[in-house]
Structure formats: structure tokens, C-alpha cells
């Protein structure tokens, strides 16, 4: 939960002042955009897949209640147990209780945005349960008490020098700088954690209502380990993650890998249906699935913004966003960043504390164009902005009054050619105090905010409309 108002401007100014971060961001966004583009161009049916995925998601969110019940029934049939959590606190409590009932001391976690959202680690650790992140990026982030920088690559803001120093401090190893050596150190440290864990916690990429199967997609193998080795597997899913039918997974798996990392397929996909069966030598003996609402059922009610729930968390919108490329993940103030963060954070939290975020978009629509489920981000941004303005309108606001006057003047001047010409002429004379190099710089209040960050082109002595007239004077009447 967000306790303090997110100040996007302050955060982004901080980020922009960091040249190391800037370099990492440019490098990262360039590469991920290119690899996604290549992967997408390789299959001819890409647009059909997107359309089909969107159609399925529309159906799922519309009938989410019955799909959730169907999924619960399927999970129960295969020997798993479903828990319903209305918010973060409840979800954490459920996991802690399962741990307590089974005397769990050590937990290994694979990467999951839902568990980041509810801050599960903090909750479990404060109750004396050792909880370790096992995705390499998340592990690095956890070791430095930081927050993930990106939903797919959480430690992209750390350089290998940072990481080698960190590992050296924590594990007493020399400061290796080769990424392969650093990965080997992490493998060794984490392997021990896996082999002594009594519980594995994972997220869910997709959950099939029909069969009770959950799909987990990853590259490292840590999710496979966390869901195979320990005796208890607890998976946490946002309630929107449902896919109705088993064979529909093929559509979503194709879309996810290519959109997220530009791979044809992620290295590992695990389709897990319940706990281990009788006679099997490995796999968890208990399987729990937590349905996390945490504000999602409210989003489903909103006709204008419910498509935010179609998201499959691929991160393509983040990588393509011109704003993310400049300011990075932490500026968004919560676990989700980029365009998806800017639409989902305000809807899952107090709108007053997150009101900056829906304005963090130039509405260019690049996010909509790459989204594998075709979320119309600009539309959602505008609906949220409208909501924020309407809420603000409820209390009297001097700024709004000023804005109304300003727009009335603007409207009057711009709607009549006579006023427009007249004002242009007046401005030409007034501007002489501020004109420099044919640009207006440092205008007085209230225009000072405008000219603080950029210069304004000066009013011309010989404006376009005059030249237009002159050009056609010879031939008679100028075309309008």
C-alpha cells in the first residue's frame, strides 16, 4: 500500500540527475525494443494472436466471478486448496498461517509482481520466517534492500561493479567482475537455500479455469526449483490472471515471451496442475493458490478502465515508453512502472496519493501499439485524468477559476479572425521586452512556467497570414 503521496516530478528530477542510470536505461530500452521487434516480425499471425488474446481477456473479465469459481473447483478436484484474499494484509496472513501450521522456517520465492505488490517478504520476515528471493535480479535487489526497477529485469539499475562489491561484502568472495562468475556465486548461495527450504512461493502467469493448471514462465529455473523441491508450494495470483481453456495457453505463451524479452519461447514454462500425485518422487505435497483481489474487482466494474486488467505483465509498454526511457522505474513510486504502472497504481491505491501518475504520458500511444492484448492506454489515461479532475472539482479551487478565465479568453481570441489578428499585432509590440534571438525567454508570471523549460518562438512582424494574402494579391482573391 502507498502511504505517502507519490511525487513523480521530484522522483524524476532525481533520476534525470544520475548519468549512470541514464546510460543503463538507454542501453536497456534500445536492446529490448530491438529484440521484441525482431521476435514479433518472425510470425505472420501476430496480429491475429493479439486480437484473439484480447477477445479472451474481455470475456474473462466480464465473467470473472464464474471463472474464479470454476478455477476453485478445478484446483480442489486435483488436490489443491484455494484461498480468497480481499487485500494485501489478508493474502500475507494466509501465507503466514500456512507456514505456521506446517512449521515452516525457510521460504524460497520466485519472482512475482503480486507478492511485491503485497510486500509479502517484509511480512514473513517480520514473523521470523526466512524468506529469500531466488531470481538473480530480485536477489540482488533484496540484498541491497532496494526495490525492483523493472517488472522483468529488476536489477537493471545496478552495474556489475555494484554487484561484485555487494557479493564480496555479503559472501566474502573476491570482487569478480565477470557476470558469469557472479552468477555462479549466486547459484551456489541460492542452491543451499533451495535444498533447505520447506516452502516455495511463486506467482502465476496464467491460471486455466477448466483444468486448474497454473503456468509459470521464467528463464533461470528458480521458479521450477521453488515449485518442485520444497514440500509446500504456495502460488499467489491476481484474480485477473485467468485463461478459460487449456489450449488457449498457446496463444498467451506465444505473446508473452516475444513481447517481454524477444524470445521465441522463455527458457522454462511450467504447467502445474495440483500437488504431486501418488507414487511420484518429487514435487510439492501441498499446493495452495491464493486469489488476490486488492482492488481488482473494483477495476472490473469500471467500463472505461477495466481493460487495465487484461495486462499479462510482459513489460513491452515499459520498454517502448519515451518517458520511462528518461526517468526509469523508481520514479513511478510503486512496484509497477511505465505506462502499465501509471494506469494500475492509481486504480489499486488511493487516487489522491497517486494523482500524478495518469499524467505521466504524452498520449503518444506507443504503449497501445506494442501491447499484446491491445490495451488502449491513452483512453485509460484520459479516463483516469477525468476522474481526478472531477474529484478535485468537488472542493473550490482558485486555480481552476483562473484556468476557466484563461481558457475563456483563449477561446474568444482564437474563434474570430479579427480578434486573432488584433492580438497578434498587440503581442508583437508587447514582446519587445522579452525577445532575444527571435525567441521569447523568461516571460512574466503566469507564463513563466512555460518559458522555464523551453523558449517560445517570437511573434513575427510579417506573420503567415500576411504573407499568404500578399502571395495571392496579384491573382486577386486569396484562397481561404
Amino acid at each position: 500500500m502507498i502511504t505517502k503521496r507519490i511525487d513523480f516530478k521530484k522522483n524524476s528530477v532525481q533520476a534525470l540527475a544520475n548519468p549512470k542510470l541514464k546510460k543503463a536505461l538507454v542501453n536497456f530500452t534500445d536492446r529490448s525494443r530491438a529484440s521484441r521487434k525482431k521476435a514479433v516480425s518472425e510470425i505472420s499471425e501476430w496480429e491475429d494472436l493479439r486480437l484473439e488474446a484480447r477477445r479472451i481477456k474481455e470475456q474473462v473479465i466480464k465473467d470473472l466471478d464464474s471463472y474464479l469459481l470454476e478455477l476453485e473447483e478445478s484446483i480442489t478436484r486435483v488436490g489443491g486448496k484455494v484461498h480468497w484474499a480481499k487485500d494485501a494484509e489478508e493474502a500475507s496472513k494466509i501465507v503466514a498461517t500456512i507456514a505456521k501450521e506446517n512449521n515452516v522456517r525457510n521460504v524460497v520465492k520466485s519472482k512475482s509482481m503480486a507478492t511485491e505488490e503485497i510486500e509479502l517478504n517484509k511480512y514473513l520476515i517480520s514473523r521470523g520466517i526466512n524468506t529469500v528471493e531466488t531470481d538473480l535480479g530480485e536477489y540482488i535487489v533484496q540484498l541491497c534492500n532496494d526495490h525492483p526497477f523493472h517488472i522483468i529485469t529488476p536489477a537493471i539499475h545496478k552495474t556489475k561493479e555494484d554487484i561484485s562489491k555487494l557479493f564480496s561484502e555479503k559472501f566474502g568472495v573476491p570482487e569478480y567482475e565477470e557476470p558469469q562468475k557472479l552468477a555462479n556465486i549466486a547459484r551456489k548461495e541460492l542452491r543451499e537455500k533451495f535444498l533447505s527450504a520447506d516452502m516455495g512461493i511463486s506467482g502465476v502467469n496464467f491460471a486455466v479455469a477448466e483444468t486448474g493448471t497454473i503456468a509459470i514462465v521464467e528463464n533461470e529455473g528458480n521458479a521450477r526449483l521453488a515449485t518442485t523441491y520444497p514440500d509446500i508450494h504456495v502460488a499467489i495470483m491476481g484474480i485477473e490472471k485467468i485463461v478459460p481453456k487449456f489450449e488457449q495457453l498457446s496463444i498467451f505463451l506465444s505473446l508473452l515471451a516475444r513481447s517481454a524479452t524477444g524470445q521465441k519461447s522463455s527458457t522454462y514454462v511450467s504447467l502445474i496442475t495440483g500437488p504431486r500425485r501418488e507414487g511420484e518422487r518429487d514435487g510439492p505435497r501441498q499446493f495452495h493458490l491464493v486469489f488476490l483481489d486488492n482492488g481488482r474487482s473494483q477495476i472490473a466494474k469500471s467500463e472505461e478502465t477495466k481493460e487495465s486488467l487484461y495486462c499479462i505483465r510482459c513489460g513491452a509498454c515499459i520498454n517502448i515508453c519515451p518517458i520511462y526511457r528518461q526517468v526509469g522505474g523508481h520514479s513511478y513510486g510503486w512496484v509497477y512502472s511505465g505506462p502499465i504502472g501509471a494506469v494500475i497504481t492509481p486504480q489499486l491505491n488511493d487516487l489522491n496519493k497517486t494523482a500524478d501518475l495518469p499524467f505521466v504520458s504524452s498520449l503518444c500511444g506507443a504503449c497501445r501499439d506494442v501491447c499484446p492484448v491491445k490495451i488502449d492506454f491513452p483512453h485509460v489515461f484520459l479516463s483516469l485524468r477525468q476522474k481526478i479532475i472531477e474529484q478535485a472539482r468537488e472542493k473550490p479551487n482558485p486555480r481552476e477559476f483562473m484556468e476557466k478565465i484563461a481558457f475563456w479568453i483563449w477561446g474568444t481570441v482564437f474563434s474570430k479572425p479579427f480578434y486573432y489578428n488584433f492580438m497578434g499585432k498587440i503581442m508583437f509590440f508587447l514582446q519587445c521586452f522579452y525577445r532575444k534571438d527571435n525567441e521569447l525567454q523568461r516571460l512574466p508570471y503566469p507564463f513563466s512556467k512555460w518559458t522555464r523549460d523551453k523558449n517560445f518562438p517570437a511573434f513575427s512582424k510579417n506573420p503567415f497570414r500576411e504573407r499568404w494574402k500578399k502571395k495571392y494579391q496579384v491573382k486577386g482573391k486569396a484562397p481561404r
Binding site: I156, E220, I239, K264, T267, T273, G279, D293
Partner: protein
């Protein structure tokens, strides 16, 4: 722990969603997607090899007249280890390997493969009593024995195959693993590193 009220609350919230009149849950039948790909088995094998190698996997085709045991023993010699963990199903039943180690301490895990996907270079492995999951996961090297005829063109064809295999999914196994090359990460400055958790080498032997 059961939060009974939460279930009721969540469902109530969702039911109050604005809906078209008489909206009944329609079953969604998805259309089948197909890529332009070779349909003969030799073509599929070539596609598989190309794509599996592209993700840093290794592929060997078992020579005619050579036994699987002989081929695998070659690998064991080359890698200089006897700490092997392996399945005893299908083509592996006849394997003559003396040692059988626990997967947690083995250097090599040898498994069969149930299906493979040509256009992504993916191995598909089903779990059951004879096919434990850890054999392909814990050892640093994974050797997978793949029958040529089980290669399918793409992921959509695979799901059709799985549907037939399970007769409408009523008895799905506990875990289906898709493996596309060795374990990898790009979490350190986007540098590709292999073997961070799962095997760092995956060797496929096609029979």
C-alpha cells in the same frame, strides 16, 4: 486460514459489474494458429535443431548402428564423471549405466522427452512416477533423449497433441515442463549468463 467473507465480497463486487443483458458465460473456442513450417518429420527435425542451437543448446543425432548406451558413455567419458541420475523409461530402459546418483549430487541428469516443438526449439517433459522433475533440473548438465517422431511444428500443434494425449485434460499430470535451452539470465547489465539455477548445458540426442 479461510476468509469466508472475502470470497463473498469479491464475488459480489464482480457480479455488480455492468453487463449486457442476459450475459451468459459463453465457452470460447479458439481458432487454431499455424505457422508456415515444414510438415515432414525431417524438416521438423532440422527446424528444431536450428532453433535449439540458437538458444545455446547442443544437439547430436544418434548414428545408425550405434547404441544409446555407447553414445551416452562417450559423453560420460568426455565429461569425466560417473555421478549420473537418470530415468528408466522408454528408450532409457535399456541404458546400461552402473551408478545412479541422487539428482542433488549428480553431475549429469539424463531424461527422455515427451514432445518437442520445432519452431521454438523446446523440449516438453511430462512428470509421472517414472519421470521425476528434478533429473532435468538439479544437475549442471542435462542430457535429453528425443525421439524424432515426437517433434511437432509449433506450440499450437503441441496443445492439440496434449489434448489428444489426455483426452480432454481430465487427467493432466502434475507438471508439464517446457525447456528451451540451458538456464539463462540477463540480470547483470543484460549480459547473457548460462546455468544460473538450472543446467548450464543441455544436450539433446535425437534417436
Amino acid at each position: 486460514m479461510i476468509f469466508k467473507e472475502s470470497k463473498v465480497l469479491i464475488l459480489q463486487n464482480l457480479r455488480s459489474t455492468v453487463r449486457e443483458e442476459k450475459s451468459v458465460k459463453k465457452s470460447i473456442e479458439s481458432r487454431f494458429f499455424s505457422s508456415k513450417l515444414s510438415i515432414n518429420q525431417d524438416g521438423l527435425q532440422n527446424d528444431f535443431i536450428e532453433n535449439f542451437k540458437a538458444v545455446s543448446g547442443e544437439v547430436h543425432i544418434l548414428e545408425k548402428k550405434k547404441s544409446l548406451t555407447a553414445k551416452i558413455n562417450e559423453f560420460l567419458q568426455e565429461l569425466d564423471t560417473q555421478a549420473v541420475s537418470f530415468w528408466r523409461t522408454g528408450p532409457l530402459e535399456s541404458l546400461e549405466i552402473t551408478s545412479d546418483t541422487d539428482p542433488a549430487s549428480a553431475d549429469i541428469g539424463i531424461t527422455g522427452v515427451d514432445f518437442a516443438i520445432a519452431d521454438t526449439g523446446t523440449l516438453v517433459i511430462l512428470s509421472n512416477t517414472n519421470q521425476p522433475r528434478l533429473t532435468s533440473l538439479l544437475p549442471p548438465i542435462h542430457i535429453a533423449v528425443l525421439k524424432k517422431e515426437t517433434i511437432v511444428p509449433n506450440i499450437h500443434a503441441l496443445f492439440v497433441k496434449l489434448g489428444k494425449f489426455y483426452q480432454n485434460y481430465n487427467k493432466l499430470c502434475s507438471c508439464i515442463s517446457f525447456i528451451t535451452g540451458p538456464s539463462r539470465t540477463a540480470d547483470i547489465e543484460l549480459n547473457l549468463t548460462l546455468g544460473v539455477h538450472g543446467p548450464g548445458r543441455v544436450i539433446v540426442i535425437i534417436i
